[in-house]
């Protein structure tokens, strides 16, 4: 087949064009949040003291960090799913959530006496955290990998890892409603570990399914 024949062939197929990638991303994130909410309602309950907890900065910080992570990963992955997209400009925002959490850890270390550090870090339900963040995040991750597959990521592995961070941010936001460990030391250890697992799964998944 020579190139002119190919051009003729492609021009004959001009009409059907896939849904624009930006509308696909908005649909994907809406679906992912719905799915994570459904899994949360089916498997977990809000912590019993949620009303009192809602007035404590440590509890609220978990939501701020998780939502910041999800929002920055969403912007970055939308850019990564387009060839020639300006993803390098969106990259620095991804640091916002980790930097905020690191600052909270420093403040926590200054506030708490050293002999309580390890108890705060270990917390009461790290296994539950490591189970439910991936469980809440895996459905959203699959949705985001499908969005990447519909797009054209020139760096599939990076795009997949960021999809894992996005799924992890959404999962952590829901999980935090149930979780009674509010210390930044706990969050920085166990939330980070669980979300990193999703990022690795996303990188592998995109390497396998989002190449084009």
């Amino acid at each position: 087949m020579d190139t002119n024949e190919l051009v003729q062939l492609l021009a004959a197929d001009a009409r059907p064009r896939g849904a624009s990638i930006s509308s696909v991303w908005w649909g994907a994130v809406g679906l992912a949040i719905t799915l994570a909410a459904a899994v949360f309602l089916a498997t977990l309950d809000p912590r019993p003291d949620i009303v009192a907890a809602a007035e404590t900065p440590r509890f609220l910080l978990k939501f701020v960090v998780a939502i910041m992570l999800a929002a920055s990963a969403f912007g970055l992955d939308r850019a990564l799913s387009r060839p020639g997209g300006t993803w390098r400009k969106a990259m620095p925002y991804l640091a916002a959530a980790p930097v905020l959490l690191a600052m909270a850890v420093i403040v926590e270390l200054l506030l708490l006496p050293p002999d309580t550090w390890s108890a705060k870090l270990v917390g009461t339900n790290s296994v539950v955290c490591l189970t439910f963040i991936p469980l809440l995040g895996i459905g959203p991750l699959i949705i985001f990998l499908l969005a990447l597959r519909h797009g054209a990521p020139a760096r599939p592995i990076l795009a997949g890892a960021v999809a894992g961070l996005l799924a992890g941010g959404i999962a952590a936001t829901f999980y935090a409603v149930q979780c009674t460990d509010d210390s930044p030391l706990f969050v920085a250890t166990w939330y980070t570990a669980a979300i990193s697992g999703l990022a690795v799964a996303g990188a592998v998944g995109a390497h396998l399914f989002a190449r084009w």
Partner: protein
């Protein structure tokens, strides 16, 4: 490549996305010549045919044209696709060389076939389902229009369009996978 080329190309692609097949053909031919220049500069060693890169890029442009935001320049998008396809070709060639080395070790008295190598996309054509292949071949090899192809194959125009579209997607998937 200057600002006028860029805005002309963007105009052609916008018209193409709105359904103008002639504008689309023009766009693809101009894209092909840009990619041909790009690939020619990048491929310094043998083993990869620049025209294969041109064709794989055109097919990817076609299948992924919904990833172009029509308020952004076309050429960065186009060259990013070409670069991705070039890297992909280098990767596949690396793997094929390994395979070929293995085959040579097993039986090294194989004579070189001296037929002219067909394009990668032409080879991919052979793997399509019969209906898809008939539609693709009628449009591209015989140069028929969609309505002529429909009459010739005794199918409806919609069926031909669908077969053509699915055939192109199937060819595209082969490149992502291998």
């Amino acid at each position: 490549m200057d600002g006028r080329d860029e805005s002309e190309l963007a105009g052609l692609l916008r018209a193409a996305i709105a359904g103008d097949a002639r504008a689309y053909g023009d766009f693809l031919l101009r894209a092909a010549s840009l990619v041909r220049g790009f690939a020619g500069r990048k491929i310094v060693r043998g083993g990869i045919d620049a025209e294969d890169i041109v064709q794989e890029t055109l097919l990817a442009i076609h299948l992924k044209r919904h990833t172009w935001r029509d308020d952004t320049p076309v050429t960065p998008w186009l060259f990013a696709i070409a670069r991705y396809k070039l890297i992909d070709a280098f990767r596949r060639r690396g793997r094929r060389e390994e395979v070929e080395m293995g085959e040579i070790a097993e039986s090294f008295a194989q004579p070189e076939p001296d037929t002219v190598s067909d394009r990668e996309i032409g080879r991919a054509l052979d793997t399509l389902a019969p209906g898809q292949r008939a539609a693709v071949a009628a449009v591209c090899v015989d140069g028929r229009s969609i309505s002529e192809t429909a009459k010739h194959l005794g199918m409806s125009e919609t069926t031909v369009r669908v077969a053509l579209h699915r055939g192109l997607k199937a060819i595209g998937r082969r490149f992502g996978r291998s």
